[in-house]
């Protein structure tokens, strides 16, 4: 039998807490770090840094709270699938967005025509 979702789980509350409390502490530390770094002058890298920290936090939650550390390939596959599909979505949409001719980019703030649309052209 393949080792499915393990039965080798901690059986007592202290054992469980030993598992999860360090993760929680790490998450809070990262939260503090991301808040502090958001105010630091990082020359335009702030966005990348805070998203990077968010990614680390998400991975911590997924691996330790959502039990991805257990050796179940099926669950890892399911978890990875959506990431791959997200990359399809982002990659190809940005392939369009970043390569559009400049005049075909939307331009903000252009008011709609003040005249009402003509309803009866014929």
């Amino acid at each position: 039998m393949r080792r499915g979702i393990g039965e080798e789980v901690p059986r007592t509350l202290p054992a469980i807490l030993r598992h999860v409390l360090p993760v929680w502490l790490a998450l809070l530390v990262l939260l503090g770090a991301s808040l502090a770094l958001a105010y630091a002058p990082l020359h335009g890298l702030n966005g990348a840094v805070s998203l990077g920290i968010a990614a680390v936090k998400a991975i911590l939650v997924a691996v330790f709270f959502m039990n991805l550390r257990r050796p179940d390939p099926l669950l890892r596959l399911a978890g990875a699938a959506s990431l791959i599909w997200m990359s399809f979505l982002f990659a190809l949409t940005f392939a369009d967005l970043t390569a559009r001719a400049p005049q075909t980019q939307p331009q903000a703030g252009q008011g709609r025509d003040s005249e009402p649309p003509m309803r009866q052209p014929f």
Partner: protein, 313 residues
Amino acid sequence: MIRFWPATASDVAAQVDQLTGVLLAICGAILLLVGCLLLGFSIRYRRGSSAKRGALPEIVSREVEVGWTAATLFLALFLFAWATGMELRANPPQPDAIEVHVLARQWMWKTRHANGAQEIDALHVPRGEQVRLLMTSQDVIHSFFVPAFRAKQDVLPGRLTELRFTATETGTYNLFCAEYCGTLHARMGGTVTVMEPEDFARWLAVQPRGDDLAREGAALFVSLGCAGCHGDRRGGSATVRAPKLEGVYNSPVPLQDGRVVTADEAYLRDSILQPRRDVVAGFPNVMPSFAGLVHEEEMQRLLAYLRSLKDAP
């Protein structure tokens, strides 16, 4: 008379038809092959026929499978390369192209020639010269479609799209709106008339011409107060220092953040609507936004005026 093939009235149309013809031949051959195999096998191997059964012969095996997978892939890549090459070569922009502004709205087309001549649901163009349509919409998405030119381009609100074509045959052709745009979508059409260049020139000359775009733009330039700051140095009472606009069109502009951009239509438009976004190096960030004050048709006039401003010697 029943038509099986649309009129071919632009240089691109002829190329597209060629591609279509070849694809038709290839697809016809594939269809014929599949059809013959289906029909042939169905008859030959129908129940009760005396055809030989038994194990599949050596030749019909994985190699065949790999073979036709590869063949299909190569065919697909060949078609891709050809179609793409055609698309990339089609209608390279020409500097002396005739520029026409197109404004779409529910449910009509307004076209406007450089000299100010306006048409509604119609467009006249000369044969053999490249026409560049600069299009925008006032409400929803429309699509400018002339089947005889094999040309189509969506027209979007809030931005410009461009369509280039060179007509090759004189005549009058259908113009359709191809992107669904509401109640009278089906009636949002008109005609495109291709004329000999000299006929076109004659036609254009007798059109009741409003002021031409650039001249109207110049009037707007004053009435909107642009001239107050950007006005010419000779008689202007400019108290605010603003970049001079003569010759600015299509020239490089250094920005405060160090970038250098080309002052194309998009940049100029942006600078009118969102002046604080890309401020020219060395000038104070004081220009107010004209968003909401300048509507799309006026914007076209202003841009035409700015394009017409040549650098004073």
